[in-house]
Symmetry: C2
DNA sequence: TTTTTCAGTGAACAGTTGTTGACAATCGAA
DNA sequence: TTCGATTGTCAACAACTGTTCACTGAAAAA
């Protein structure tokens, strides 16, 4: 497991009981503090691309030179974030797989589960959505890889569920790509929506549900021979 | 017309015959140089958010203090870029309107025209696609406004063309939103594709065509009463 | 025990950043 | 022609950036 524990995301580096940890864990801890610092800065409206090394270490509560003990670059930290976000995406897929296909109102339920998942993994989705087309070229292509992989897994899942038995593998993948892009964009909507406005949230949810329903409707009627 | 002429996009500021211009045009000219400098930097892989004031003036061939004669902020320059990009989007819509609905293989032709338009307005699409979910909050929301407006106009156009006569205005807008998001993401693909690879370009085009076809297929079968 | 490894520190560097104020040149109106 | 307005320049500023080096202290290895 590569994921971090991150029990207290905002504390610089555990100022409490800390000296009693073995060296490896101590290192891991400030490494996490650096990563969390970057995420925290993004949570305040900054884009990863514009984060400075010193800025990150300041929030992490560490001296700037320490950064180099863990990453050679801010870009390298970014790549770690891509990897983490990839894990988050796959965890989502795994949970969806475990839950199985709900028979009644499947799409609406999926959208609701997705929304909850986005909100409880806010920082990763913020990062992915933000840097997917904006960030530095190397990070952008890393994210693209991760998303492509995600689409592949989703394609395989839908294939085994046999929801669209008439679709060729290529067409099924095309459908999944459409859904993933739509929902990844929806994540931006979800994260930007001011909390508390129940009515607006409902409108937004309906919108997302309708879009996915329309895609699925199209997918059910798709004929490969005609394309 | 707010659009700039930009005959020689890379030259700092016309080092040639220039002194003989009236003051207003001279001002406009360095203003354009600043805007073009920002676009040029983005064309080299940078994100707008990370551009510095001095960096922009350096490329524009102007002293840093001159910047303040035109914009109070880099953010203000960004907002001008949003406006320009909005004009570009509407120009696209206007041309599509003028061309009318091609009867044969309408979607494929539209995708091809779109691709050509993206490539010949590379910088604006680069900016919009990049800052739509990545950039600073104020620019992001400005872009959202522009795109929303674009979706509205497209909805109105499709309404008058009566391609989907059974759809309610709300559903038609939902379809347009889906198409616009899909094609705006497609712009990233198009711009990232290394030029020259004919086979890959064909694959990409087919992919985009299929996605839009699937959406339209779903839209034709959509029943409002069931949703 | 002694020795080695290594995460974190502190001071210093050259370079860059955004912003200021005073100044020069010149266009356009009086 | 005179004069105010305005565009661009120059010099300077404090603050900040990424990166280096030598150093400390403690955990791990011998």
């Amino acid at each position: 497991m590569t994921a971090r524990s991150r029990s207290a995301p905002e504390s610089p580096v555990g100022a409490d009981e800390d000296e009693l940890l073995p060296r490896g864990q101590r290192k891991q801890r400030t490494r996490d503090a650096l990563i969390d610092a970057a995420l925290q800065l993004m949570n305040e409206g900054r884009s990863f691309n514009s984060l400075g090394l010193r800025e990150i270490t300041r929030v992490a509560g560490v001296v700037p030179t320490s950064f180099y003990r863990h990453f050679k670059d801010t870009n390298e930290l970014g790549l770690v974030l891509v990897e983490e976000s990839g894990l988050t995406l796959r965890r989502m897929l795994r949970e969806a797989r475990r839950a199985g296909a709900p028979v009644k109102d499947m799409i609406r339920r999926s959208v609701q589960v997705y929304k909850a998942f986005v909100l409880s993994n806010r920082l990763h989705f913020l990062f992915v959505a933000g840097e997917r087309s904006g960030g530095s070229p190397v990070i952008r292509s890393a994210i693209r890889n991760e998303v492509d992989q995600f689409i592949d897994e989703m394609t395989s899942d839908l294939r085994h569920l046999a929801i669209f038995p008439k679709l060729s593998p290529e067409s099924l993948r095309m459908v999944c790509e459409l859904v993933v892009n739509t929902m990844l964009h929806a994540a931006t909507d979800i994260l930007d929506l001011p909390p508390g406005d129940q009515a607006l949230a409902k409108l937004q949810e309906d919108n997302h549900v309708h879009q996915v329903r329309l895609i699925f409707l199209g997918a059910q009627l798709w004929r490969d021979e005609a394309n």
